[in-house]
Structure formats: structure tokens, C-alpha cells
Amino acid sequence: MARPYLEAHGLYKRFGALEAVKNVHLTLHPGEILAFLGKNGAGKSTTVKMLSGLLLPDRGEVHLLGKNPFREPLALKHLGAVLEGNRNTYWRLTPLENLVYFGVARGLRLAAARKRAWELLEEYALLGKAHTEVRHLSRGMQQKLALLQALIHDPEVLLLDEPTLGLDVETALLMRDKIRTLAQAGKAILLTTHQMEVAEALADRVAIIHQGEVVVEETKEGLLARFAGEHYVLELEEKPALEVIKQLRALGVEGEGPFFFRGNAQALWQVLEAVKPLPLKKVAKGETDLLEIFLKVVGHA
């Protein structure tokens, strides 16, 4: 696998008596979207700020393309961020002016910033509002602009703290597509969100943080399979005889049809053997989604 763009080791942050983040390890690889999930106050934004050099960790290190953003601000050329709850842009400037200003503040030449600003405004359908002060834009447009502001210098790493908050369905879908496209173009993206369907649609990997600790971190497929792998659903065309039911119960099958079976794929054959030759309607691995997993994980952790 390619070298990670962003690595964090053992991040720890305490605010007074509160341990906001405890020993967090994270990596972001090129072309990958990491969904960073957690309840309110779990420590997501605190982690994001440590990753972006805005909050100094008490312990632990951050490497942004191999450099420490706290000691070498130049490393921030490789990072763009949409920060939570912030406007992220100047309200008294227009989108164009904001993008040009932030482009230059992020190290672009003036002419390059201007060119890129126009391209982004066009790509994100904000051309019509290029000259409207940000405070007169709709919330969705402001949120879109916040993303563009993070993209203006074409950084390798994007940290997006709730970028789809408060967007209408259509704009949220557009943002989703854009974020996916950005990852396909090779950017490493960390995305925090409370909208599980967004995470499910976009994530390559999922990290769940609970009370400051990362309690789950694996690929989305792996995670879904791991939790789905726990049970099978079995439906028959007709009701089985009492004896068959007894046998099924002995194997640990629950339910009255549909039947539920917790066990591995081999044990499933024993179940199928028991119902033979009754006609099958459906045999399937139990479905699960990120929401269910999330609730299970943060509920139990």
C-alpha cells in the first residue's frame, strides 16, 4: 500500500479534568475516505484540530506527508480543512474574493489562485454567486464554499468536519459525489458526520471514537461483513413438521419462520440438512448497516 499521507500516533488531549482524546492512532492513505464517527462530544473535532495543527496534543505525534505541522507550518500546504461550526470564510467578501485570498494565504501565487478560484466556482455551480457577499448566500452555498476554500490550494489531505450538515437533499448528494470524486483523484479524506447513510455511501474505512478512544477501526466492507456474519435468515415455502422444528432448535435456530441462525457457514449446512427436502424460499446472510453497527458499538463500548 502507498505511504500514508497523514499519520497520527498516540494522540492524547486533556481539557482540565476531561480526557477528550485518549491514545488515538489514525492513518489516511491516498485515495481513501475514512469516516470518523462518534457521538456528540466523543472527541472527533478535537482530533481533527490536532491533525490540522490547530490544537497541540499533550502526547502523541502528527505527520503530514512526513512532516510535523506544529514545527513546520509549510507542511500545511498539503492540508485543507472544513472546520466544524465555523463559517470558514469571510462573510463580508464574495466567494471569489474569499477563494483568491485563501488561495494566496495557503501559498499560491495571486494569478494561480484567481484561475483556480474561477475553475472551482464553475465546477461547483457557484459562478452565478461569484460576486455576492457570502453573508447573502444560502446556507448550502456557504457550506459548499467552505469546501472550496479547503480545496483552493489542491491539498493532498482533506479533513472535513461535518461538511454535509444542514444541506438539502440535492446539495448533500452533490457534495457526496464531489467528495467521492476527490478521493478517486487520489486525495486522502477524513470525514466526520452524524449521518450514517453519508458515511456508508462514502467510506472506505470506518473509525468509531467513543469517549475519546477509537473503539473500532477497519474497512467498511470488513466491518459490515463482521457484523452481518453473525446470523443467517432462512425462509421455507411451507411450515416444517414439529420434529424438524425440534431438530432446528437443537441446532440453535430461533424464530418461527423466518428462522434466524447464528453460526458460521459450515454450521449452516447442518441446518439445511435438517430441513431437507422442504422447499426453500430464501437463505441469506443477515443484512446490517452502519447505523446498526454504530449503535451496537457505542452502546456496548
Binding site: 490544537l55 497541540l56 509549510l74 470564510t89 474574493e97 494565504a105 457577499e133
Partner: protein, 250 residues
């Protein structure tokens, strides 16, 4: 860096162009303050009292004071506003690093301030009938005053970064600034921020004294000392703000 300067300057000009009433307000307020002082002084001195050539000196002194005041307060007001509106964190994401960025900001702000002072000067010369003429060499000690002012500005900026609401303190400490600019340029007063440069400039304006190179050297030493101190404190404050998570406002 040049591009950054241009971008910052552009941002300042845009604000002026888009909110001309604020510019107008500043020009009117600062002009009125001076005019009232002028009338008050005439009233106290009694009718028939003439300022003569002194009026020019007082006016130039006043304009220079507005510059120094701006150098002293602008960073803090900027930091407070941006922490509140929530752009400060984005500004801190600049690869230039906060100190170079704010230095460039100050420089571009100075230019914008020049525009403002020019307008005030026009208003006041018209109102009071004074003519502005002074030895161009005054610019040098005044530059030293400004550098010292920016040093103090960075020191205040440290407080703004850490404690946010320091508007009152800034307002009150303007009197301190006034004292520093009026302090005699001798003995221990030479150690006070801005004082040596200010007294040199005053001497040149009021008494028409020639430029004292030795004094100028002292003024610049003093200026760089306080600028360095201000930058050092600001660097410490940035570190502390990053440690305590104070870059966003509430």
C-alpha cells in the same frame, strides 16, 4: 510574500470600498476629536490666542498619533473579530505561519491606514486652516515609533488571543500610549517603548530641530527591542492558545 501582501491589501481595500460608511465614520470621528481639542484649546487660551506655526506641529503630531494608535490596536481588534466570526482557525492553517502572516497583514494595514490619515489630513487642514509642511526626515523617527507600536500591538494581540474580550483594556491603554508619545526623550525614558522616536519626531516638528543620527539609532534600537519582545510574546501566546484550544471564539 509579495502575493500575500497584495492579497491582504486587496482585502483591506475591498472592505473600504464595500463599507464606505465605516471609513467615513472613522474619518469623521477622528477629525471631530481633533477639531474639538483644537476649539477647546483656543477656548482655554482665550480669544485672540494664536497657535501660529505650532498648529501645524500639533496637527502632524495628531496624525502621527492616529498611525501609532492603529499600529497598537489593529492586530488585537482583528484577532478578536476573527475569533468571533470563526475565520481565525482558517487563518492559522496558512503555511506561512501566524507571525509572518500577521506581520504582512500589519504592513498592508499600514498602507490602508495611510489612506485614512490622508483623508483626515484633508478635512482638518480645511477646517483649521493649517498647512501641512514638515521636514521629510521626520519619517525616520516616526518609523521607529511605528515599529515599537507594532511591538506593543503584538503584545496586546497575545492577550487578545488568550482572553478574547480586551476591548476595554485597549481603550483605556490608549492613554498610556499618549503618555509614551509625550514622554521626554532623555535618561530612563529612553527605555520606554516608542518614547525616544516620539521625542525626536516631536523636536523636529515643533522646534524644527535637525535630524539627530545618534538619537535615531537609539530610537531604532528601542523599536527593534520592543518589536522583538512583542513577537516573542505573541509566539508564546500562539503556542498557549494551541495548547488550550483557544483559536475558536465563543
Amino acid at each position: 510574500m509579495l502575493d500575500l501582501f497584495l492579497a491582504e491589501f486587496g482585502r483591506n481595500l475591498l472592505a473600504l470600498r464595500r463599507y464606505p460608511l465605516e471609513l467615513l465614520g472613522a474619518v469623521v470621528t477622528l477629525s471631530v476629536i481633533f477639531y474639538l481639542l483644537f476649539l477647546g484649546a483656543r477656548f482655554l487660551a482665550g480669544p485672540g490666542a494664536e497657535f501660529g506655526g505650532r498648529l501645524e506641529a500639533v496637527l502632524v503630531g495628531y496624525l502621527l498619533w492616529t498611525f501609532a494608535l492603529f499600529a497598537y490596536t489593529s492586530l488585537s481588534f482583528g484577532l478578536m473579530e476573527e475569533a468571533q466570526t470563526g475565520t481565525l482557525e482558517q487563518v492559522f492553517l496558512s503555511p506561512y505561519g501566524p507571525i509572518p502572516l500577521f506581520l504582512v497583514r500589519n504592513l498592508s494595514g499600514l498602507l490602508t491606514q495611510g489612506l485614512l490619515v490622508f483623508l483626515i489630513a484633508m478635512v482638518l487642514t480645511t477646517l483649521t486652516g493649517a498647512r501641512l509642511s514638515f521636514h521629510p526626515g521626520v519619517v525616520l523617527p516616526f518609523l521607529a515609533v511605528l515599529l515599537g507600536g507594532y511591538g506593543l500591538g503584538f503584545a496586546m494581540g497575545s492577550l487578545a488571543l488568550l482572553y478574547k474580550r480586551i476591548g476595554q483594556l485597549l481603550g483605556l491603554s490608549q492613554f498610556l500610549l499618549l503618555f509614551l508619545l509625550q514622554a521626554p526623550g532623555t535618561g530612563p525614558f529612553l527605555l520606554l517603548p516608542m518614547a525616544p522616536g516620539a521625542s525626536l519626531a516631536r523636536g523636529m516638528l515643533a522646534q524644527g530641530a535637525p535630524l539627530d543620527l545618534w538619537g535615531l539609532l537609539v530610537a531604532f534600537l528601542n523599536a527593534f527591542l520592543y518589536l522583538g519582545l512583542g513577537l516573542f510574546l505573541f509566539g508564546r501566546a500562539v503556542h498557549r492558545a494551541k495548547k488550550q484550544g483557544l483559536l475558536h471564539g465563543y
